[in-house]
């Protein structure tokens, strides 16, 4: 063993002891990113009006965090407006948007474009620009994709299915680690299904770790039974809807009749 190595030995031992005791921050020991949602299973019942989902965990201290919650990529066809005869706004065909999620929510501790390269953002589908680069829009004339993708984002935000914020991740450093929390207002417009939460820890311009957890939303109770009846037994559901409407109409008519509503 070289003499210089022997001289450094006490320093390494001291550093190990301090790190083990949590005195010195150690990127290898504490970079383990964790993520958990308070609601892994959202029950969409009769009185459901959205929910609040809190994503929390621990990360490497000082790491910037990006928390993304989205549904699987899908294919969506929307009607587009256009001018007919140069005057009247009407539906002018459809546009198919492929490789886009139906629901996309994101919160960050800092602006993602300032943290990562465009390549990294695209690779991980972080932010609207990445989504636009990844998406396929058909039929589309050259140079028109950006315009129509912006309209797509406007539409999705108006439906409360997309939200992107450069803030909203609370970081709480302490004990050589960094706890974090991001609270999402889960929209009632989000349909039942599986959603994935992905947390990225970013340092020095690159993703140093990522963690995932899932959120499942499903109808429950009477809402579930009605959905199943409507989808699986449409004829019975339709007949019941008609009969109940007729009965309600007659019932109200009788009540008003007894009250002396006639001439």
């Amino acid at each position: 063993m070289k003499k210089s190595s022997l001289l450094c030995m006490p320093f390494f031992v001291l550093a190990f002891v301090l790190a083990a005791g949590g005195i010195l921050p150690s990127s290898t020991a504490q970079a383990q990113l964790s993520a958990a949602a308070n609601h892994g299973n959202i029950k969409i019942g009769f009185f459901y009006h959205g929910d609040a989902i809190s994503v929390s965990g621990v990360s490497d201290p000082g790491a910037e965090l990006i928390v993304k919650m989205s549904s699987p990529e899908t294919h969506q066809t929307l009607r587009k407006k256009g001018k007919t005869a140069g005057v009247l706004w009407m539906n002018a065909g459809t546009l198919a948007f492929a490789h886009v999620p139906n629901v996309y929510y994101m919160k960050c501790s800092s602006r993602p474009e300032g943290l990562l390269s465009r390549q990294d953002l695209c690779k991980n589908m972080i932010g609207y620009q990445a989504m636009e680069d990844h998406a396929e829009v058909k039929p589309m004339a050259d140079g028109q994709k950006h315009r129509w993708f912006s309209e797509f984002l406007k539409y999705k935000e108006s439906c409360r299915l997309y939200r992107v914020s450069d803030e909203g991740v609370r970081r709480m450093p302490g004990g050589g680690r960094q706890a974090y929390q991001a609270v999402f207002e889960w929209p009632y417009q989000a349909p039942p299904g599986d959603y994935q939460v992905t947390v990225y820890a970013v340092k020095a311009g690159s993703i140093i770790d990522q963690a995932t957890c899932s959120v499942h939303a499903e109808t429950a109770g009477l809402a579930r039974r009605l959905t199943e009846l409507a989808m699986k037994h449409g004829a019975i559901y339709g007949a019941l809807s008609v009969l109940i409407a007729i009965a309600a109409g007659f019932a109200v008519g009788l009540i008003f009749g007894k009250g002396g509503g006639a001439h």
Binding site: R79, G238, A251
Partner: protein
């Protein structure tokens, strides 16, 4: 209190659809229209998908028109014979309209035809009803003054009236106090059914003027008979939409019908206190307001350039 709508897959405050139902039910009981031309756009504004809004609206119209028909029947304002003839024609016209729409959609002109038919029909019907009612009210005032100085003469039948009288299968509609060939209500019902299918509405706002001006029925019998006809049209539409498209949201329909059945009864009571011409002017004004709204929608740049697929 919010309720989740399982088919529309959205949540809504209960007072919104109940209040909306009350207003539209009131119009239904007052004028004999289903109110689909008002209700469906308002539901879409509340965030209900257009296909679910249209189908669920039919479901609540079943309740409102049952309530309204029942109330009108009790006071003798439903001409069942006329209603059945109109219904037969309307059913055939509806089938023809659905086929016409299939052809137009294949040609890619459907949206243009629907929107223009809507604007033209609403504008013509609303404008004509409004002007005719004003003219009729003035004429009655004038007649009241003239009656004192001169004797009334015989009215000369119009060419159209003479032609209608010459048609075969003449039959008396006692409740309405008119005599027509059975072919007339069947043909007119067919025309309204065709237009209603093209426009995607129940057709009440078209049927009422047809009964008033072409079949010469008294306004109060028109309202009851129109509701009777709408009831059957909407039963068919609700069932078919639920069975084939799964777009009827029963929870939303119940909330709407709570309001609309009450509104229909209040409308019937209010209607008895208004004169026929006053009813026609009010309906004409509502139709004209909807026409103006549609024209503005067609000419002002929309806030969103993309929308959900389906519906008109």
């Amino acid at each position: 209190m919010y309720l989740y709508l399982p088919v529309a897959m959205t949540s809504i405050h209960v007072l919104l659809p109940v209040g909306l139902g009350l207003v539209v039910g009131l119009l239904s009981g007052l004028f004999g229209v289903g109110g689909g031309f008002l209700m469906t756009p308002l539901l879409i504004m509340l965030g209900i998908p257009s296909t679910v809004a249209a189908a669920t609206d039919s479901n609540q119209i079943v309740a409102a028109s049952t309530s309204g028909t029942f109330a009108h029947w009790k006071v003798g304002n439903v001409d069942f014979k006329m209603g059945i003839y109109l219904l037969a024609g309307g059913f055939a016209g509806g089938l023809a309209g659905v086929q016409a729409m299939k052809m137009l959609r294949a040609m890619g002109d459907a949206d243009f035809v629907i929107k223009m038919t809507y604007v033209v029909m609403l504008g013509v019907v609303g404008g004509y009803m409004f002007l005719e009612s004003i003219w009729s009210m003035r004429k009655k005032e004038g007649e009241g003054a003239a009656r004192l100085s001169s004797r009334p003469g015989k009215t000369k039948p119009s060419r159209i009236g003479a032609f209608l009288s010459s048609l075969p299968l003449q039959t008396r509609f006692e409740k309405s106090g008119v005599t027509h060939s059975a072919l007339v209500p069947v043909a007119l019902g067919g025309l309204v059914g065709l237009l209603a299918a093209v426009m995607g509405v129940g057709g009440g706002f078209l049927m009422v003027p047809v009964m008033v001006y072409m079949l010469r029925m008294p306004m109060h019998v028109v309202v009851g008979t129109s509701l009777f006809q709408i009831l059957f049209t909407c039963i068919e539409v609700t069932f078919l939409q639920a069975w084939t498209n799964h777009t009827v949201d029963f929870v939303l329909a119940v909330l709407l019908l709570v309001g609309s059945t009450l509104g229909a009864q209040i409308g019937v009571i209010a209607g008895r206190r208004l004169k026929g011409d006053q009813l026609k002017i009010l309906l004409a004004l509502i139709v004209l307001v909807v026409t103006v709204k549609m024209v503005l929608e067609l000419t002002i740049t929309p806030p969103l350039m993309l929308g959900m697929g389906g519906g008109h």
